[in-house]
Symmetry: C2
Subunit: 231 residues, 2 copies
């Protein structure tokens, strides 16, 4: 009954937030270790989401804005140049798959239609997918500006038989699980140690199609259990 499985990419298939945390730490050090700086940066990111959307380019612009504000305009151009270099470095970061990803997806691709559904900068997400070596396992790749119930309804209609017969898997309750449930799909949460504060939400424990597992390796058994239950 579940024919199509959507996977979030960042921190579901491969490491992502750790590169942002590293950049944030180096950014704070560059600015002399101002203790409130990371919080100011997160506030700038949230404020700018409506303009920049998600991704490293907007993050870099928000770092520059925060550096200017936090120093009341005294930050030297040499520091701005280092922030630009940090952003370019992030856009080259290597792709580290999370545990069991290649095995589990290789197995599931034989029985299900797999789709990547991810936010972020278009070119950067394409680069990471190419570097991941997973490209051939996916029936489709949807890089989207935001993840709403309509995003999932559209993606599962395009690549499967609609949200009713689909499941979304990801580390963000707010972006991956809750809107997919609202669209009528199954929503499976696999927590990641590092999750951006913006992506946090209360678990939808009363939704009948909500499931949480600790590791991706548990997904095939979960799918089997659901198929058995529905026979």
């Amino acid at each position: 009954m579940i024919g199509c499985i959507g996977f979030d990419a960042d921190d579901t298939l491969w490491q992502n937030e750790q590169f942002f945390r590293g950049a944030e730490a180096r950014f704070a050090a560059l600015l002399g270790g101002d203790p409130g700086l990371t919080e100011r940066l997160h506030a700038a990111e949230r404020r700018n989401l409506g303009h920049y959307g998600f991704g490293i380019k907007g993050f870099t612009l928000s770092m520059i804005e925060t550096a200017i504000e936090a120093t009341e305009g005294r930050v030297p151009a040499s520091v701005i140049a280092k922030i630009l270099a940090e952003g370019r470095e992030m856009l080259r970061h290597p792709v580290h798959l999370l545990p069991d990803v290649a095995e589990v997806l290789g197995q599931l691709a034989r029985t299900h239609r797999l789709v990547v559904i991810t936010k972020g900068d278009l070119l950067d997400q394409e680069r990471k997918l190419a570097a991941s070596g997973l490209g051939d396992l996916f029936h489709g790749v949807e890089i989207v500006s935001d993840k709403t119930p309509e995003t999932y309804a559209r993606a599962f209609a395009r690549h499967g038989a609609g949200a009713e017969g689909a499941m979304m898997v990801g580390n963000s309750l707010k972006s991956d699980v809750i809107p997919a449930l609202q669209a009528g799909a199954w929503g499976v949460h696999i927590p990641h140690d590092l999750t951006w504060s913006y992506e946090q939400a209360e678990p939808p424990v009363h939704a009948p199609r909500f499931r949480a597992i600790d590791r991706l390796a548990e997904l095939p058994a979960l799918l089997e259990g659901l198929a058995h239950h529905n026979r």
Copy 2:
């Protein structure tokens, strides 16, 4: 025989380059009117395309980089703040449709499947499409990181019966016309007064499926002529 028509968006459906030219002029004025500045900026944009891809966020980052380089690191943070504000302003610019767009697309949508195929930042292109009021005329919207023959083959397979029965219309010979012809589609060039130097190329005058028209209003007659010819 032509069932699906792809349209470029920026400077084909609505004004775009004029906003970049305005930003470039204000950027040069901010930096004290350095005569070689615009050329330096274009060089930075080209150099950064592989990292940033197309769109306003990358353009803003390239303006900041150019300001630092051109002043040998002496640009004050207050000027960088103005560049950031310029970038945000561009991401809010109004959408001005080009002449005849609404009428011609309204007419063609009754007989053909219309698709937007555009580069740029995901969120920004979605915003412009929503503001254009044209959204309902399109069977699909493809926002892509680059325009290659494969881009067109994929888009026309997804939204029509393949490139063979499709036509691409746009103001860029390099991005809209030549790769669409290489994919096997028709390629129609409608020049725009302002075209970014990166997008210029020699007209493929010997390609049998290449056509050039002066205004979008000539497109319905061109399509009719092709249909008649093939009867």
